[in-house]
Symmetry: C2
Subunit: 345 residues, 2 copies
Amino acid sequence: MQKLTLKKIAQELEVSISTVSKALRDSPEISDDTRQKIKAFAKLYNYKPNNIALSLKNRKTKTIGVIIPEIVHYFFTTVISGIEKVANERGYNVIIGVSNESFTKEVINMEMLANGSIDGFILSVTKETQLKKDYHHLKETINQGMPIVMFDREVKDLECDKVVVDDVQGARKAVLHLIELGCKNIGIITTRDHVSVGNLRTVGYMNALALKGISLNENYILKLDDELDNDENIEQLQQEVSNYLQENPELDGLLSVNEKFALMAMKLAPVFGKAVPEQLKVIGFTDGVLSKYANPGLTTVSQHGRDLGEQAARILIDRLEEDEFEVPYERLVVETELIERGSTA
Amino acid sequence: MQKLTLKKIAQELEVSISTVSKALRDSPEISDDTRQKIKAFAKLYNYKPNNIALSLKNRKTKTIGVIIPEIVHYFFTTVISGIEKVANERGYNVIIGVSNESFTKEVINMEMLANGSIDGFILSVTKETQLKKDYHHLKETINQGMPIVMFDREVKDLECDKVVVDDVQGARKAVLHLIELGCKNIGIITTRDHVSVGNLRTVGYMNALALKGISLNENYILKLDDELDNDENIEQLQQEVSNYLQENPELDGLLSVNEKFALMAMKLAPVFGKAVPEQLKVIGFTDGVLSKYANPGLTTVSQHGRDLGEQAARILIDRLEEDEFEVPYERLVVETELIERGSTA
DNA sequence: TTGTAGGCGTTATCAA
DNA sequence: TTGATAACGCCTACAA
């Protein structure tokens, strides 16, 4: 019951290996007679060529490596689902590596895959990588001729294809919407790190205020420690959000750079006499399950993760299958969309 | 800048390929002199053996294939994260295939991977597969000598390793807890399909009632269509939940076989004059983000997905690396745990 | 101590 | 029309 190979078929049918190979690939060199015989046999015993041997021969594996910082994470899974879709349509497999927001794991994961296992990468770097600004592993990979498509977390000084979210604009749209709805004192809950998307969203927030001639109140900006953004530290974060709401009773609009912080605020607001959306309108980022099933539903900025994933896969595979060299690198911006729900009704 | 191979090193250093190979693997056959020289060169130019060539030679790829019905799904991602962890620790890569609850995609995905790309599978079958009871692709894979570890959705009549959740017991524990809290009229929101875990959880619900001598009221069982469990059909489902709550005003306890239905019920209960948890106590399944960030927090039955994934990977890799043949198949039951939160306070 | 040869499974080129 | 051979990159038993 072992896997069938060309060799075994050849032995069984008493022909040469190359005859079998040619017959199966419908080469005109082979006579109808033997072709039929061989194909029948192969079909009967369900012959399938060995992928590894093909990979070695063709020097391409038809699989793409995806490295993400986290897997239990709505946005990243939507991106993967987009990648999977396009990859499968075009005959590619997807290997997933999880870096767990660790620079070292990112490097190890890439090294594991870069030695022949895959044809190209789609990846989002860890926050640690962004902080260290150490991109040698990425540069080396690119130099060895393995294409990389980066997504979401942008690394400016790296020459490769990129698919990014317009975080600044997304946040700006959200805040402008709050202003339109009549909010006068709009706050933001963001992350402390100074490198990642949280930062861009904060910029968008400031943009919108500036656009409308509203002066920035530093007290309205709550920076939560990113390290704490995991399920063990919910209580500590809630405490910080509580303090924030208490100290800024005049807040009537709030942008959060993710869903979790938004839900915390929605949960705590009534404690401080604020009903959502009547006295406090809230908008979050991500548009995941939390937003859809929250009570009231959370208005969010959708990043269209699935589209993003599809685009990233398309760009990578196009490049892999492009025989003209020197196709210029692409930087694709995925538009955000404001999904309105009860939290801003 | 192309990838370095043994051949190129050999040419460069004017020795034979096998000398290079041996030197790099610290064979005592090679003199210190040449060994050092070769190793220095390899290090300098960052030589790494080609995985594909190794796979072909060793007839093992050191990668495991994971097929899941959905990727944008909390439970499955926790399982993957467990698999990833153990796999990486033991030097394995993980290829992910998403079947999207489609039998055909499951088969295609498996075929893509079964031809040499991986050493073994960890998979959870689609609902469609369970319904059709068509397991030929699984049986063939096993017959070809490729081990499979199935998880979560159990297929009784298939001989292979399994890691399952004790859904019956989980549901029973939950309902018993509600009874202890004083609930007299306990309902359940479950799925219509008759094959999947929803069914087992319903059995657990009935178990608990029987155990306590409470007679079963069919009206208390709401079966929602599984097909509708996606974000497009939220409204329709909500309508059904509304009707259910309205028609059973005496309900004071509720078990839901997932988080989403539980949150819908929690959102709608106040509409029918029921405060949660005062007049209606709710318990869900999954213990994902929804439970943690709901308001009030949702008490849930945790399935310990990460543990499950770790165990599945351990079992598979142990089997792959076992040289004694005929290790008996294992069926491991992961215990559930009731996580208490505000919805049953 | 070093090199040669064969094989993992496949395909392509060339010879018979 | 069919078959032998070489190659993809690596490893290893055996020969020199």
